[in-house]
Symmetry: D2
Subunit: 139 residues, 4 copies
């Protein structure tokens, strides 16, 4: 892999994303990871709407998240989304969420997506052509 594909995306924590302990509820980090994926897609020319136009949905089949430091309502953060290349017909990302401006690592995570054809709802076992082209362009 020639290049690291990394997107940085700003985040502002919503009050509604906190829980009774006063910090962001752990499940809401999966929203932040999704923000990161969408920002990555726009940055590198692979937005979700284009995937749909190609006739695919790309459901999450696995996600992991590790929590290091809390985020509170109103705080600012950066979502770092890194593409992890894979020979399989899967899209993998790693995430780091940093509290700003101190740049404290609050959470890390990973996600894996697969390609499912919308016309027959079947899992694609090989990479779709549009995705091969995208990889050839960037990697």
């Amino acid at each position: 892999m020639k290049n690291d594909l990394i997107d940085l995306c700003p985040l502002r924590v919503r009050f509604s994303e906190t829980d009774a302990i006063g910090v962001v509820w752990h499940g809401n980090y999966l929203r932040y990871f999704e923000d990161g994926r969408e920002s990555f897609g726009e940055h590198f020319g692979l937005p979700y709407v284009d995937v749909v136009k190609e006739g695919y949905i790309i459901p999450i089949v696995e996600v992991t998240s590790q929590y290091k430091h809390s985020l509170h309502a109103g705080e600012h953060a950066t979502i770092e989304t890194k593409y992890i290349d894979s020979p399989a017909a899967k899209i993998k990302f790693e995430y780091n969420i940093y509290k700003e401006p101190e740049h404290i690592l609050c959470a890390t995570g990973t996600s894996t997506q697969v390609f499912v054809r919308m016309d027959n709802n079947e899992l694609e076992l090989t990479m779709p052509e549009f995705y091969e082209k995208w990889r050839a362009k960037w990697l």
Copy 2:
């Protein structure tokens, strides 16, 4: 209207539904109202899946909510959902959320839904036949 159509539905408050003040975030009461509507639909033979089978979606066009008393994680409550009859092609409900076992009124609310045909995405200005029949049966 001959009969009051009222459904009672139990509720358990989730930790993830609370906010940094330690109580249920006000927007989450709209989830409880939705729980109430679905429970009402099952109780009185008008579930959402049947509406879809008839070729309609019934989007919310207005919702209101008033807050009287807080709910905390793990607390039990009752959702009271009351059908409000209307001559228009609209479905209206009133809601009361009571903390149990003290039966303290925590929130009230209202919702209004309309009928939209799925085949042409147009608003139905008169009541669909299946809904007329349902009203004739119960009211």
Copy 3:
């Protein structure tokens, strides 16, 4: 009232905010209204953190929302938050959510908040001094 106090705040719709009909779930507009309030507070010098420093929380006691037009995942919108002055010890806002760039009105809403002292958890029946000062500055 000499001046209209209005804040405009950009919004990007998250995939996780949509529902099975394919549009933003109606309850999530209350998150957008909250984004609008927070943006208003920063714009006009009344952020939530300062309210807390003054010893108050400002819970929502009423919210209403009317829905005109749908928003979909990835779409851009503007949250317009307008301060509605009131002689009571209440904070009132009106909201308009516009889909951009077409500037289509998707939803309207209102909210009312009250002042509750954190030391005794009691409702404040007259305006706190810090809020009087803020009003005197802007209105």
Copy 4:
């Protein structure tokens, strides 16, 4: 470990938990896992409120989730929550979510929690006494 500690808890999928693909948004499974933990705690005498009374919070430090099969609005499911014993000062669970009545495995997951003392906000490196006693009773 003498006994398997497993809790089964019923689940009804909310409309508001689905996304624009028409199925439960993947992040919402973390709510179901939390439902499972809470149900486990009540079943086996370790509810969250008791942990707080002992002076601890038990934040999640890691969560994983794997997705096998979709859940739709209104569907019924079972949350299976299994305690995984550990010599460390950590609480670990495994989860299986089954769609009912077909009993199809929809998702699996794991979570790890640690003990943090509320008085000094510090991580507890050894098991708190109340937790030792709980383990001695059940394992």
